[in-house]
Amino acid sequence: MTWRRLGALETLACVLLALWPQTVRSPYLTSVAITTLMYVALAFSFDLVVGRVGLLSFAHAGFFGTGAYISALAAGHLGWTFPLRLAAAMLGAVVVAIVIGIPSFRLSYHSFAISTLAFGVMAQLVATNWIAVTRGPLCLPGVPPVDLRLGTWRWEARSLPDYYYLALGMAILAYLLVRRLTQTRIGRTWVAIREDEHLASAAGVPILKYKMLAFTSGAAVAGAVGAYYASYASVVCPSELAFAYTVNLIVILFLGGRGTLAGPPIGAIVFTALPEFLRIAEAWRLVIYGLLIILGAIYLPDGIVAWATRQMRQVRRTA
């Protein structure tokens, strides 16, 4: 029963989202929606490590940036089409995740966070200073749009709605991937690792392998979003790897609800849409926003989803 209801909710959400660009007919609101959808996909993949395995990582923006740069370079130097760039970006992000994951996962909770933070900072430093490859702060401009070729048939994303639908497809795929991973034995194993690593290994769980699975699947999705972003923005800059983006993702997850399927989209919508609505009070916008986040941290420590679930249970009990 609950499953069927959830299915209906998913379908409804998809229909509403599919109609968005036609309904609002505003380039501005469509681009806000694209940003939100990118954050949704990133938050879903980020949650695999933060919410499911239960480790705080600061590497996610680094994976996104790795994907964006690989895609831009592959387009500029090799003239690769989008599907190839996408594959390269995902593969590159996975390789980077393996290289930093294997040593970092041997560390404790806090050391893991610091180690991934170091990677995030280094990634931005490399992008800024490796002028020969990345052009540094001059950025890599002229990334071609998303294109698909099949024989003589060719399609290119030209308009904002085109990019909107691509972002929507990406967010849905990320959702389906995460749902699949978390609702099988794999997800249960991650929860077990989060709850008690010693007990899990005594039960025969190869801890590092499962942590790496979460880390690399998350990185693959982030790399894919990076490849998309490179084409959408048509330029890739070192600022795309900024620490601030990882912090945004952390806020989204903690605000929405870690380790849940509804948390990432809710967090992303609140996080990206709210500041836009607050533009009514332009001067006070960021102040109000900051205040709301502080209030959220105080009153909704496990996120909106956990709070809403509690409220619903209470209503049902009193009814």
Partner: protein, 254 residues
């Protein structure tokens, strides 16, 4: 002679300047219930951790399980050989249901891969169904069948203790290492646990248990190994251990 299930030779473990275990050797044969006793701090849990891969013993220690050398193997590799341990402190996956806890206990002992798990193949589903049957059987055995869907964190202490016991039994292991199964358990429950251990032993499970409760050890163990200050000071049948001068000395002092 038949290869022992567990063979320890010259087990030594040093923490900095402290010698936690010194040259401990003994065997556990198939079908036995062996007790490991000793005063607090005598190295019993350290010994458990060295056998199960949570600590690596110092050379030239040698640990053989089912005829395989396990020194240097990780805890999960050793567990998958078919030797399961419990912990002194009661550990459960608090946010998982009792049933999911038990399914976690067995899934790594079933042949499947991450890829198959992702696809949730019929084979994986069959394993899952088999695990559920086994879990229901064990829940019934200890009287927890009404709690299958309860999150393990909501169980009482005694119920959790029972859960950890059947958690260890889930994969039908050949050798079970129990770390203080009767600690902080009420007398009625102790008798139940004792009965279960004896019953399972008759059906072919071998046990090595660390225990402080002398009644439990003397009642059910066929052989006892005594540690004191990291050294084995005695080994023998319960009657002999009870009269052994060194053991009495270690426990009561003079």
């Amino acid at each position: 002679m038949e290869e022992p299930l567990l063979r320890l030779d010259g087990l030594t473990k040093r923490f900095g300047g402290v010698l936690a275990l010194r040259d401990v050797s003994f065997r556990v044969h198939a079908g036995e219930i062996v007790g490991l006793i000793g005063p607090n701090g005598s190295g019993k849990t350290t010994l458990f951790n060295c056998i199960t891969g949570f600590l690596s013993p110092d050379p030239p220690s040698d640990v053989m399980i089912f005829g395989r050398r396990v020194v240097g193997m990780s805890p999960d590799q050793i567990a998958r050989l078919g030797m399961v341990r419990t912990f002194q402190e009661v550990r459960v996956f608090k946010q998982l249901s009792v049933m999911d806890n038990l399914l976690m206990a067995v899934q790594q002992h079933q042949e499947d891969t991450i890829g198959k798990r992702f696809l949730n193949t019929p084979r994986v589903q069959a394993f899952e169904a088999k695990g559920k049957d086994r879990a229901r059987e064990l829940l019934e055995m200890v009287g927890l069948q009404a709690h299958a869907t309860t999150p393990a964190g909501l169980l009482s202490y005694g119920q959790r203790k029972l859960l950890t016991f059947i958690f260890a039994l889930m994969p039908d292991p050949r050798l079970v290492l129990l770390d203080e199964p009767a600690a902080a358990v009420n007398p009625v429950l102790i008798d139940t646990l004792k009965a279960h251990i004896v019953q399972l032993n008759r059906l072919g499970t071998t046990f090595l248990l660390v225990e402080h409760n002398m009644d439990v050890v003397m009642d059910i163990c066929q052989r006892i190994v005594v540690l004191d200050h990291g050294e084995k000071i005695a080994e023998g049948v319960p009657e002999a251990i009870q009269k052994n001068e060194r053991v009495l000395d270690a426990y009561f002092g003079i």
